[in-house]
Point group: C2
Chain length 95, copies 2
């Protein structure tokens, strides 16, 4: 009962297959591996992206619920300040 791997089919056109083979040969792995890698990388990117927007949505919900926020000016001012003084505290959320 380790990792059950299922066989999925995918239609690729000739040019893509060629390229996959080239790269597979180039770094000495199988075309299959290349495809899996492609998918792994893609999924990882999507996950990170999703988490990013999830956090944004969360933050917004929190703001809607509590009214707590900082302004864009407060934030950019802090960004500028932190260059000079790395321990400048982030602005505090307020109503």
């Amino acid at each position: 009962m380790s990792t059950a791997t299922a066989n999925k089919s995918i239609k690729l056109d000739a040019s893509e297959i060629e390229k996959i083979n080239q790269f597979a040969i180039a770094d000495n792995r199988t075309p299959h591996f290349i495809m899996k890698e492609a998918i792994r990388i893609y999924l990882k990117r999507r996950e990170v992206e999703k988490q990013f927007i999830d956090v944004a949505i969360e933050s917004r919900k929190h703001y809607k619920a509590t009214g707590l926020h900082i302004t864009h000016q407060e934030f950019t001012a802090w960004v500028a300040e932190v260059q000079k003084n790395p321990n400048t505290p982030m602005p505090v959320c307020h109503k």
Copy 2:
């Protein structure tokens, strides 16, 4: 003859399949499409990368043939200089 598309199989484990399905649903496309997209993107990245190193190899061959080059110091000095004066010319290759 339009674009001949051949059928390839790829073994993916359950977690990957789930994620593919999630993203497929999320942006309203088929899982199959997602996989193709993943591969397209990967291939594109690799191609660009390859071209980059090809240029590097070309440059090196040119150097080996002609002896023309600039030093690392010359280059970094220029990088620094160009910040202050954007039209600072790049150092010229020499023996």
